[in-house]
């Protein structure tokens, strides 16, 4: 089957078997290997990507279901050579050891912060409970999400401030 899908802002067209999972389509057809596979029971979340802005487990979605929609993977987080604040925070807070869960964790955290820009520790733990990390014990992942949330809120306040300033100047 032919599908058209936008991945990290780039349009792709491909012929896929109906049974191809989105995770394999991303990894093998598009060679975006940042999305990982860790289980066969939709338990681990290593495969988490955004589908039209919502976090999904790409091992449990068919590539054909993504037809006409937009996917964002870990490779889409960095903008103009600038790490996304979540990526920087994972680094600074030592939120990864082997790094195999990290792409999924980053995408789940990204979706969480979209919905809830200033989550409490409990909300983060709940929000990431579909993602398994076998290495870190989660404490530093929670810290990283908190620190990225703070940074993003400062950035968005600054952005709002800038708009207000230029608005005043235009008046």
């Amino acid at each position: 089957m032919k599908i058209r899908v936008k991945v990290n802002g780039k349009p792709y067209e491909a012929d896929v078997e109906p049974r191809t999972l989105l995770a394999y389509f991303l990894r093998e057809t598009l060679k975006l290997t940042g999305t990982h596979i860790g289980c066969d029971t939709t338990t681990c979340g290593a495969c988490t990507v955004l589908l039209d802005g919502k976090a999904v487990k790409s091992c449990t979605i068919l590539a054909v279901q993504a037809d006409g929609r937009e996917v964002m993977t870990v490779e889409g987080l960095e903008k103009d050579g600038q790490l996304h604040p979540l990526q920087a925070a994972f680094w600074e807070e030592h939120a990864l050891h082997c790094g195999y869960c990290t792409p999924g964790m980053l995408m789940a955290s990204y979706a969480l912060l979209q919905e809830n820009p200033m989550p409490t520790e409990e909300e983060i733990r709940f929000g990431l409970s579909g993602n398994v990390c076998r290495c870190t014990g989660y404490m530093n992942i929670v810290k990283a999400v908190q620190s990225a949330a703070r940074k993003l809120s400062v950035e968005s306040r600054e952005a709002v401030g800038e708009v207000a300033t230029s608005g005043t100047a235009a008046d």
Binding site: V74, W91, Y100, S129, R134, C135
Partner: protein
């Protein structure tokens, strides 16, 4: 973007990890990320039976299926003498079964096809005619005279594999005969699995033109894998390049060679194209090597005032169908005789018997230095029971029996020489930090109100860093480790080590050691591991051995470079070598602090201005054979509350005070402790791989074999004391496994402390809510 890290003198600092920039971008390269042109995919057909004779295998339909390039059975491998392969324990294991299967999920046949989906489709078309045989799942029943003999291939017609013992039987028995108090307890350490997030897998790439076999594999021990492949297949070792790319967690799971690896290699040799095999999670749990599965009985002889005199331990070890335990060859039960722990027993005697059953082979050291977790759990659990019997506080009993600071180096009754420790200091810090006295008061008040709160202590001692090579080897290969350092003309360094990290941060910590020793910045040093063509030979990363062995090799290799650099510095400074001093950052002339040259100056001179009689270049290799193991230890305290209505245990607080000697990077040490505690927590409360009477695996996936999520996992508190190892070049000990070794006993002790009013002395792990709920019901507690 890169955070600037120009840190000089980086030792002991929380340097951010050098491996992270690629991993947070999704640019890691794990084995399944290797996509080669013309690559084919391998899938394995596995047995539905735990014990069955194979009457016939018909592969004709599979061979005709779309995309299929090759079908392999045990018979095909037998023609190449590859139907069996050696295990790390000196036993043999079937690669693909020929005449019978010995565990459910055992490898029976394999299909290579253009896509993974085609290969999976085709294995369904293979017809196998099985004749089921009687199954043995219980190792005690395996020893009964009427039990079927599982391993017909072996000369010894028994399911008993080996008997092993340590310590002094007579001396121990003499003490037991006279002892005023004897405490005896059966303790089970259930079957678990390391289950790293990335399952096992490989790509075998045989190049027909060059005759070279490149083998990508998610491996903790690439050099051992290269030698094992050469020994098994007869393929010349210098024509095998093993590449262990980024490894998505190991925890002992990625030390052995698995049948899928051998089959992938055979397929690539036959077809002349790359062949990939990536197992599923189910295959990972149900067929790759398990851990633990010990049935232990401990007896402690003590005086009435709480002096522990002697320890006697008997153990039945379930090894499954093949003895594939990953232990140093002379130690079939690993370092289990560390079971006397932190206590000064007069005598001890330890026995272990290895047994075959119809279960997957093993057992590996799951975040553990060879059966140390079983030993630590046992002693820490039983010491608590002794305290209970004597009506003593478990802290008091421990303080009364600790090996004292002045006794180090301490020779244990089973023959280990502990390098250093100050157990009392570490425990006292833990008690103070957690507020032990107040917690006991709170507990008394709660007990009076009928509430269930428990405090659990574990003061364990580990033994990590194998060699020394006079007693430690794996299949004859001595357990040293190695480093090679090259200083380039611009003073930039590439270092390669024989170990292979899986998240422990070697690219950072070993760079810290080398930068510190050479007076360079952390950014000047790149550390590479995992490619057998470039790295010096080493035994790999497991059993917390990397810092004790390869870390030592890195420091001594750098010092070897410094020795040569001193000669060149003398030439540059135009003085005699004896007049040159090194201050950690530069060489200068004794008594003339103004004149100095840095390592960078020396590096440039090593290629541009070498004095007569000195070899050009600035590089060195060091093979380090440790004089002894290192003995990290810790004092852990868990505080739990139990819900009387459901039996659920809530870990309210957990404090880990570790002592791993000098610390290279405190951020990484703390991270390792968090991770290990989480795995210890999972083992104490969630994880078990049970089998039914027919040998069916009842937890072959992550729906049934539970892994803790962020919601389940408690918050960890950490602290440390520092007692350097006297024999390690930088005074460090291993740490990655301490939290997994030490924590299960703290959790379980806390639960039993909470249940003390009911007189319950022991519950086997995992402590599921229903087990606690049942006990509460038995005592008439209903809400």
């Amino acid at each position: 973007m890169a955070l600037p890290q120009t840190e000089m003198r980086p030792m002991g600092k929380p340097i951010l990890r050098k491996e992270d920039p690629r991993l947070i971008r999704g640019k890691g390269r794990y084995v399944d990320d290797i996509l080669l042109p013309n690559m084919l995919h391998l899938c394995i057909l596995r047995s539905p039976y735990a014990h069955a004779r194979i009457r016939r295998i018909d592969t004709s339909k599979a061979e005709a299926a779309p995309g299929v390039k090759l079908v392999l059975t045990g018979e095909d491998l037998a023609k190449m003498n590859l139907a069996w392969m050696p295990t790390l324990a000196g036993d043999v294991q079937m690669v693909l079964a020929t005449d019978k299967v010995l565990f459910q999920y055992q490898e029976v046949a394999a299909v290579v096809a253009e896509t993974r989906a085609q290969a999976e489709d085709a294995i369904q078309l293979i017809e196998v005619d099985y004749e089921p045989l009687p199954v043995v799942v219980d190792p005690f029943k395996a020893l009964e005279p009427e039990a079927p003999i599982l391993r017909e291939d072996k000369e010894k017609k028994s399911n008993h594999i080996w008997h092993w013992e340590a310590g002094d039987r007579e001396e121990t028995e003499a003490i037991f005969r006279e002892a005023p108090i004897v405490v005896k307890q059966d303790v089970r350490f259930q079957r678990v699995h390391p289950s790293p997030l990335e399952p096992c897998g490989c790509v075998a790439d045989y190049n027909t033109a060059t005759g070279k076999l490149v083998f990508y594999v998610t491996s903790q021990a690439p050099h051992v894998h290269r030698t094992a492949i050469a020994l098994t297949t007869g393929f010349p070792e210098h024509m095998i390049q093993v590449i262990s790319p980024d490894v998505g967690g190991g925890f002992g799971n990625k030390v052995p060679v698995y049948p899928g690896y051998v089959v992938a290699i055979v397929a690539s040799l036959k077809l002349g194209v790359p062949v990939k095999w990536i197992e599923t999670r189910t295959e990972n749990i149900a067929s790759t090597h398990f851990a633990r599965d010990y049935y232990m009985t401990a007896e402690i002889a003590a005086t009435e005032d709480g002096k522990m005199l002697a320890l006697r331990v008997k153990t039945i070890a379930d090894h499954g169908a093949f003895d594939a335990t990953a232990n140093p060859t002379k130690y079939p039960a690993g370092l289990y005789s560390i079971v006397t722990g932190s206590y000064d027993f007069k005598a001890a005697f330890v026995e272990v018997d290895g047994i075959h059953t119809n279960k997957p082979p093993g057992g590996v050291a799951y975040r553990c230095s060879f059966r140390v977790t079983e030993a630590s759990y046992l002693i820490e659990r039983v010491v608590d029971i002794v305290a209970r019997r004597l009506n003593m506080d478990p802290v008091e009993l421990r303080l009364r029996n600790f090996i004292r600071k002045e006794q180090f180096p301490y020779r244990s009754p089973t023959g280990w020489v502990y390098d250093s420790g100050d157990y009392e200091k570490t425990l006292k810090l833990a008690l103070e930090r957690i507020g032990y006295e107040e917690l006991r008061k709170e507990q008394a008040e709660k007990r009076a109100r009928g509430e269930l709160m428990g405090i659990g202590i574990s003061t364990f001692t580990e033994i990590v860093g194998a060699g020394p090579s006079h007693s430690f080897d794996i299949l004859g290969i001595k357990m040293f480790d190695s480093a090679e350092i090259r200083v380039h003309p611009m003073g930039k360094v590439i270092a390669r080590l024989g170990v292979r990290h899986q998240g422990q941060g070697h690219e950072t910590t070993f760079a810290q050691i080398i930068a510190e020793e050479l007076g360079l910045s952390i950014d000047d040093v790149v550390v590479e591991e995992g490619d057998t063509d470039t790295a010096p030979y080493g035994l790999g990363t497991y059993a917390s051995r990397s810092t004790p062995t390869a870390g030592a090799a890195a420091a001594l290799c750098a010092r070897r470079i410094r020795d040569k650099a001193r000669k060149i510095a003398a030439h540059l400074l135009e003085v005699n070598e004896d007049d040159v001093v090194w201050d950690g950052a530069a060489f200068s002339v004794k008594g003339l602090p103004g004149r100095s040259v840095t390592m960078k100056d020396v590096a440039f001179a090593a290629y541009t201005n070498v004095p007569d009689g000195i070899e050009p270049g600035l590089e060195a290799t060091y093979y380090y054979n440790p004089p002894n193991l290192t003995f990290p230890y810790g004092a852990y305290i868990a505080v739990v509350d139990i819900d009387k209505g459901t039996g659920a245990v809530k870990v309210r607080r957990f404090l880990a005070v570790d002592d791993c000697g000098n610390v290279i990077n405190p951020m990484i040490v703390e991270g390792q402790v968090h991770g290990g505690l989480t795995e210890g927590f999972a083992i104490a409360f969630m994880q078990d791989i049970p089998y039914d009477a027919d040998g069916n695996c009842l937890a072959p996936n992550w729906m049934d074999y539970l892994v803790p999520t962020s919601l389940d996992t408690p918050r960890w508190e950490t602290d440390r004391t520092v007692t350097p190892s006297p024999h390690h070049p930088i005074g460090a000990k291993g740490v990655g496994e301490s939290p997994n070794v030490g924590s299960p006993a703290a959790f379980v002790n806390a639960v039993l402390d909470a249940l003390a009013p009911f007189g319950v002395e022991h519950i086997d792990m995992p402590i599921y809510p229903w087990k606690v709920w049942k006990i509460l019901r038995e005592h008439g507690i209903t809400e």
